[in-house]
Symmetry: C2
Subunit: 71 residues, 2 copies
């Protein structure tokens, strides 16, 4: 269940990143986090905090609320 | 910044809990977490994961998206 949630969030982050033509490196730079962290979140290998989600949302020019819509 | 986010989330959880006439104990039981954890989240003493937020949302019969609206 929790894993399904992480997976869905990871897929959404990846989708938004690719739609905006960003590499993992570029997204990481915007989030001030490491590229490997972006990869781990996208592959749902890492549980994400609301604080981190907030950084991803800002970096991807969207809102947390919209990122979690329907989840 | 992150602290303001935690604060806003804690306040929203508390508001929803009180609107539904639940004690911290009752909410904790629904979330399968400890009462002190609920208190810490409500007082923004604890950073919250998306997985934990999902449990709170379910326990409070709302969605994560609605809980984070405007944040």
């Amino acid at each position: 269940m929790q894993n399904a949630l992480q997976k869905a969030i990871g897929q959404r982050i990846r989708k938004l990143r690719l739609e905006q033509g960003l590499s993992q490196e570029e997204l990481a730079a915007r989030c001030k986090c490491h590229r490997t962290y972006v990869g781990m979140v996208e592959r749902a290998e890492k549980s994400i905090s609301v604080a981190a989600l907030s950084k991803f949302a800002k970096a991807l020019k969207t809102t947390m609320s919209s990122m979690l819509e329907g989840l």
